[in-house]
């Protein structure tokens, strides 16, 4: 499995706290039985809200096309457990998300598809978002092992829980293989539970 240690490329800033998974992919698009093409519905409702007072949505700004890193703020991905949300982001081309904080289920779902959700301070994220908005061509590099993010002359610490970082580094972030390995231990554990064995 793919080892993930550094992610680099251009970035796309997406400001705002508490961006929920209903925003990322509205529920009506969950009626499909595959994830294929889910990126077409990424932030679909937000992107359609045009008109006075609304700036162009970052995902519609041509200068950000091809970005590999998404820059967000607090509690990104809150709400539903739909994996369609990180799938749509990943399939659009994002390889890592850097934010102040992430909702727990979203964080786990992203890890399962090989897209690290890395955290940095609010001040550093603001600097990065400003920097990328001023110059969308800025190359951003996240080094998971070193715990750093570099963007031009700017450099800041970033973090990922050590377990998750190691799973990416060793290519064990997709857990199915690990869980299926030594299956006899699973049945043995289950057999000791009274509700499985019978009260």
């Amino acid at each position: 499995m793919l080892r993930i240690t550094t992610i680099s490329g251009r970035a796309i800033p997406m400001r705002g706290n508490d961006i929920d998974t209903d925003r990322i992919v509205p529920a009506r698009f969950l009626r499909a039985i595959t994830f294929e093409g889910m990126e077409a519905h990424l932030f679909e409702d937000d992107r359609k809200m045009g008109g006075p007072g609304h700036n162009r949505h970052p995902f519609d700004v041509p200068a950000y096309h091809g970005a590999a890193i998404l820059l967000v703020n607090n509690n990104f991905g809150c709400g539903s457990s739909r994996e369609h949300a990180p799938q749509a982001i990943r399939r659009w081309g994002i390889q890592a998300i850097l934010g102040e904080s992430f909702a727990e289920i979203f964080f786990g779902n992203s890890a399962m598809i090989g897209m690290p959700c890395v955290t940095a301070s609010a001040a550093d994220l603001k600097t990065l978002q400003d920097l990328v908005e001023r110059n969308p061509r800025t190359e951003v590099k996240i080094d998971l092992a070193a715990g750093t993010c570099e963007a031009g002359d700017f450099r800041c610490p970033v973090s990922l829980p050590p377990n998750v970082r190691d799973a990416f580094a060793t290519g064990t972030w997709d857990t199915t293989g690990l869980l299926m390995d030594r299956y006899e231990e699973v049945d043995a554990r289950a057999a000791r539970l009274p509700y499985v064995a019978g009260f």
Partner: protein, 464 residues
């Protein structure tokens, strides 16, 4: 020092520590529904994997099912395709299934408890964030994504990070007209929509001790809206009374033995917690959300906030503008177009009884479309036996078939345009109820009933 229920259940289900540092946890019950599972089944097929424990897996349909016309094929071809896909998957993989037309069909978080599948001391997983509901029984229940659904199907296990435990004690008597829904909205208001990140919430205190299982489920259900993936209540006599006689619950002598074990997994009196919070029930009032996340709420007699006074002025001004509100406006008197009583939060028999009691002999306001969607076929039948359906119909409500309905806009029940919905559901996110500009006001089912009759937000206590 004692141990929490979370730690006891966690340890009992730990298979091993994985090289990644995560815990491999055995999952005692896997609940499956149509929306988050098709890709997982496809991956099993692609890899030639079997389902590890079909005997610990149960499927139903809830999210996409129409609640009005349920004949097949559905008019919506995508919904029909999704439905047919689950039917094919349960047949191919040999899973137990409560499909459409089955007496046991309903919202996955309603039928698990109702059938006695959900039991104290279990680990439970389901590809839905409101799986926290099952914690009401003293189970440790996780909402998961589709890749994890695949993991559980293939191995009956999850790889997870340990959680901290925050005890939330709700103490004192709830005032009249204040319900479990108001308690959880108050908790989210106080601790924030991400306050529970990394925590399991243990709900305790004498107010919770006195609550019915329906009320405890309402509270645990919305743990995730407070950022906590897991929420639970320690099992007690109320839990055991509910369990007795349920289809999949232990019977006879086994039930007595089960009770002993269930009691043993409750948190010890001297358990240590990572955090401890007290909510005084007597200070609570009926709560209504005014914004676009479940933490943006106020008492029914309060005024919506002004951006200038808020910690995040931009979030408040965005929410006010989306909702069509002006800073400082009272929420009471806000006109509603739709009233929805339903969802995994508040579509149980006691919710319907309370709403019916309020609307009995009254009528829904002329401009309001009102619907009641029971959480399961079982609840619909029980309510009909008591004549609740007739009470609702006479008051001008539509009485529908069981499903998720207007909670999330995946089926024909949706808001239109910028309609305002008084809703007993769990999320007021922008566009949540199926219209990109639709507006949701979360409140208790009793408050929805009052709003339906008044045609605007009002304090249910003034109608009662």
């Amino acid at each position: 020092m004692g141990t929490t229920l979370l730690k006891k259940v966690w340890d009992l289900h730990t298979v091993r520590q994985l090289p990644s540092g995560q815990t491999q946890l055995f999952i005692g019950l896997h609940l499956v529904h149509e929306v988050t599972s098709p890709q997982a089944f496809d991956e099993l097929r692609r890899n030639g994997w079997k389902i590890a424990r079909p005997d610990r897996t149960f499927a139903t349909v809830d999210h996409i099912v129409p609640t009005k016309v349920r004949t097949r094929p559905f008019i919506d071809v995508m919904a029909e395709d999704m439905m047919a896909s689950l039917e094919r998957n349960v047949a191919d993989f040999g899973l137990r299934f409560a499909g459409l037309g089955d007496d046991r069909q309903g919202i996955v978080h309603v039928i698990g408890p109702e059938l006695g599948l959900t039991q104290p001391g279990m680990t439970i997983a389901c590809g839905d964030s409101h799986t926290s509901t099952h914690g009401a029984f003293g189970a440790v229940a996780f909402g998961i994504g589709t890749s994890q659904v695949r993991d559980v199907l293939a191995s009956q296990c999850l790889a997870l990070e340990p959680l901290k435990v925050r005890r939330i004690r709700v103490t004192g008597a709830l005032p009249k007209g204040v319900y479990a829904k108001d308690v959880i909205l108050a908790i989210i208001q106080r601790l924030g929509v991400q306050g529970g990140n990394g925590y399991a919430y243990e709900y305790a205190g004498d107010a919770v001790d006195r609550m019915s299982m329906d009320e405890r489920m309402t509270i645990c259900n919305m743990s995730i809206e407070g950022g906590a993936r897991v929420g639970y209540v320690n099992p007690d006599e109320t839990t055991f009374d509910y369990m007795k006689g349920r289809a999949f619950a232990p019977q006879g002598d086994a039930f007595e033995r089960a009770k002993t074990w269930w009691s043993s997994i409750a948190s010890d009196a001297n358990a240590a917690y990572d955090d401890d919070v007290e909510i005084k029930a007597g200070e609570l009032t009926p709560i209504v959300t005014w914004g676009v996340n479940p933490g943006q709420s106020i008492g029914v007699h309060d005024r919506v906030p002004a951006p200038a006074q808020a910690s995040d002025p931009k979030a408040v001004s965005d929410a006010l503008s989306y909702m069509g509100l002006t800073a400082g406006q009272p929420i009471e008197g806000m006109k509603v177009d739709v009233a929805f009583i339903g969802s995994c939060t508040n579509a149980r028999l006691s919710d319907l009884r309370e709403a019916a009691r309020i609307v009995k002999g009254k009528h829904v306001a002329k401009h309001v479309k009102a619907l009641v969607v029971p959480g399961s076929v079982g609840i619909a039948r029980a309510a009909e036996k008591e004549g609740l359906d007739e009470v609702f119909r006479a008051a001008g409500f539509e009485w529908r078939g069981a499903g998720c309905s207007m909670c999330l806009g995946m089926n024909p029940d949706k808001l239109e345009g910028d309609q305002v919905c008084a809703s007993s559901s769990n999320r007021n996110f922008k566009g949540r109820q199926g219209s990109p500009t639709g507006r949701t006001l979360l409140m208790s089912p009793a408050m929805v009933a009052a709003a339906a009759v008044a045609g605007e937000v009002m304090d249910v206590r003034e109608l009662d």
